[in-house]
Symmetry: D3
Subunit: 227 residues, 6 copies
């Protein structure tokens, strides 16, 4: 199953992806019924970015970034490169040269369950990366993996063309065909939240706003005064 | 022992807490005889803040933030919410809505042995948080924990009303009744340090300033020249 | 083998070290044949710094910073203090007083396989530190270690006088006698990279620029269209 | 997507599963092109067992074992229960009562990306378990998850009905429709290995048996005598 | 607060402690309302032992076992030595000489949030140990800690004289004054479990025995057939 | 520096190595002044073995066991194969075929800072292995490393020909030229321990036997009675 590159052109609608980027990761994750979130060890190399794009997936061998070179040819403008590794690895598989190439192809960012390097230059370029580690450790180009096959990245299944949403809260994966539905659910949630935020800011308690007092009492919550 | 909310009003003197915030975590920890420090995995979501306040404690179930809603009602201006979890968990139990509510109640910050989310908004709000992780993972509201009971948070016992001091170096817990004594010890230490800093900056060696040469020799330290 | 301080004066040429600092960690590591890199848990306390200097090595006991005081006397201008620990430890062995002293001696930075504290002040001082952890945990001054003996720090052998290069990508150790050779190899690599960067930015694929298509095909890589 | 139980009856052929159990995890994993292996933190609670069976999958909330009770009704003789968790958790979700029930339904074993307890009794019962942790930590029964939906367990996608092969080397997942093909590849490999083992035991070198000397030399391997 | 040895003689009733040992950790932990359990990294060095005894607590410095020598004098027959460390440490603070001494004083076992060594001899002696690590790393005897003060060990507060229950599932701490009450609750639970075990073994489902079907349906659980 | 095989024949005296095996790891480590111990994550795959032998070192790439095949040719009877990896990796680089070959060459055991597989067969063969992990994950044979160069394995520098001592307490490395001296120191220590063991077993306290009461009092230790 390794050694395969799938040429694939299916993506979610660009407008839906842009709107998901605006919703952000936490809202999108809630809108998906709290699924699809990568493990929290995936962190941005610099903060303040929110992106969404179609996944070009890479399955790489530990310490070997050959398939990233292969994958870049498959990138369409707006895509996010998603690199999974066949075993846990923190080597710096991606640096400023690959970022230059990926950016030239229109790539919107990188999500990698391994390490990255040249982070100062990547930050200066404003090229968004979410990774497991920062490491200067160089890699070989010796063994095949695959491109655009389903991969498990940081605990989540990613199919090529799925929508990757990433910001300071982490990375969430929206199945391509669910994008519009998730977006609608997320927007409803947001609308809802503005009103809540206003009431909470005015001093109303969540206990009252969410009508939690009765279920808490039913569950057996007891109030006591300090002795 | 779960399912209890203790209404408690005892806090250390506000002036003492403000002075401890200024001393900072490392000095306070030294002034306590090197005790009371939470494990170093507790990190601020943004740097540069130094706070101190009375602890409102929460014991939560993993993946369940119901009791945080309950706890906010117990917060008095200047308090710090301290959330412990019955088992290790990184879920995003706290986000911008809860921060809005906690801030509206006068809460000074959050210390949570689990995850937080909406960190970009929390940063924009300037709401100080020390946490084990950043994670968009949503939580349920299904199981009781307790509020204002003694908890172990990141390796340290916290009683409700204890003084929480937190800055870029971490989080330290001062027992409420020890606050004045610790403050005095801390101030003495600081006074002491200014003089030391001046002498060290002028090139004096710690070896001489602290009179270490004799005890080192007694302990058997040997100087050799490179061969 | 503990309880020894070696007075040593051998360093690489200052100009070579300055040039290695400019090359940076990732390039230097590649120029060394991908060796010498410390484990990626070694992170700077603030970003944007690139340094290189001769190693003054310290072998410390866990929770004991006595030997750091001893080591500072051995520091020559431009040196980097490298602290290894006899077992894994995150205690805050180094803070602003030690930094003041180390800076007064001309020390260029600290690399420590343990914790540091007073990070806000260290950042204001602009004193560069790479560490395993940030922790306010205080240390004792009770047991001997050694200064300027070979140590293993974060997975790499460091001999006194070796060149330490550190930046946002991590920390790499260049054996003193290899400094000039590594510098030459690194410079060749950099020259090479500028041309590559230009071609990649212009849209040329790494696949073509590096002539990877043939070896990939030979290795058995197969292209398929999406079904 | 949570709150769903899928009643499913598709399994691989029992004889194929039995044969895969005999091949064991390492051979099966190789026969699959080195894919499908769960992360190595999945360890048996006692050694010496080799099993294979059809997966009944569970997606559970952290600290909540309600869905395991639901799942047991869906177990057919020979099945392996596979429990994934929506976030990392080590709580003891499964103990001797659940094992008694699962065994009564014909369940062949448990693979759980969380904790188990009552391990002494489970060992006495000879009930095979692979888990992330051993923990007495009790769980609630408060929130829905799902049964027999695709899950990611310890880094691998598991579809209901996939073949789970587990032994002292870990746990590997064979897609249901690939079982026969993988079995054939594994048998070929085994046949092959017996001959190799005999030759190696007789002192022949792998270097010669696998004809590695030429490719090593081509890759640039150099032999030197000790100075 | 360090440098103190408290001579203390209060223990729970020996019969209650013996009965808690028989209940075991998981049942005791449930009987306490799911509290008091140490983190699951605490593992026995050999399996099959179930003990309970009164805690003699030690607060040690990392890499320093001086206070263990001090503590052994305070041990009464049947006591369990509980060693906490002021920061995370895996050094081998305890070996066969200390075990010989502790056993001679009637000590029932050791619970240590650090490392142990001489594990082969300890196993031959049948001396029960629960630890964070096995490590030959030697320790110094240089800095004071305390004996019989409250400590946090592996995430749980332990007061001197508390009942320590430990078996293959881990370690749980029962406050001294709660021992009889917890024992009663545990016994009720066990009685209850025998009947449940019989019914489950006979094929009855937990879903029915625990009347879960209605609450599951209310919570929204949906059954579907495979497509 | 990679791509080199050094043919080397220097070993410590066989009798010294045999005697070090009998001393065991903890005593040897103490006899070396508490240096040379590998990190405690190195664990035996089965317990009860004590070995010592000359190191044949391997520097491998992550996920690539090519150099192990190369190294076996360099093994002399009684040698221990020591495998380090250029970055952290848990893949199963060594299994029963390699063990068969290594055993046929007279190899005494394996120490590997990565994973092993076929552990059931290795256990049946009685072939001693200390590793970082157990994992079925297969490896490629694609990239060069080196054989018999100095390596850092699990935190310790190993030179080819150094004496590797390993038992249930871990793995310690004795520099080849120090073997006789370390052995002498270890034997003195053992002789010493037998007498101590007898006295401790008879109830004498370490406090008295080691004359600790006075230094403890000088350090400020205070005894108090429970209030």
């Amino acid at each position: 199953m390794t050694g395969v590159v799938v040429r694939t052109r299916k993506r979610a609608a660009a407008a839906d992806m842009a709107a998901l980027a605006e919703l952000g990761v936490s809202t999108t994750h809630e809108a998906m019924g709290r699924t699809g979130l990568m493990k929290p060890y995936m962190r941005p190399i610099f903060s303040g970015t929110q992106i969404a794009g179609g996944a070009v997936t890479v399955l790489a061998q530990p310490g070997d970034n050959w398939m990233i070179h292969v994958a870049i040819e498959q990138v369409m403008p707006g895509d996010v490169l998603v690199v999974a590794c066949t075993s846990d690895n923190t080597d710096g598989m991606f640096g400023d040269l690959l970022a230059t190439s990926l950016k030239a192809r229109g790539g919107a960012g990188l999500v990698i369950d391994a390490g990255v390097r040249d982070v100062r230059v990547l930050t200066q370029m404003g090229f968004p990366v979410w990774s497991r580690a920062i490491s200067a450790k160089g890699t070989v180009k010796a063994s095949l993996g695959s491109v655009n096959v389903p991969v498990v990245c940081a605990g989540v299944l990613v199919n090529p063309g799925d929508v990757i949403v990433a910001d300071d809260d982490g990375v969430v994966v929206v199945p391509r065909l669910d994008a519009a539905k998730v977006l609608a659910a997320g927007k409803a949630r947001i609308a809802n939240e503005d009103e809540k935020r206003r009431r909470l800011a005015a001093g109303e308690l969540g206990l009252d706003m969410y009508n939690m007092r009765e279920p808490l009492a039913k569950a057996g919550l007891v109030y006591r005064d300090e002795e």
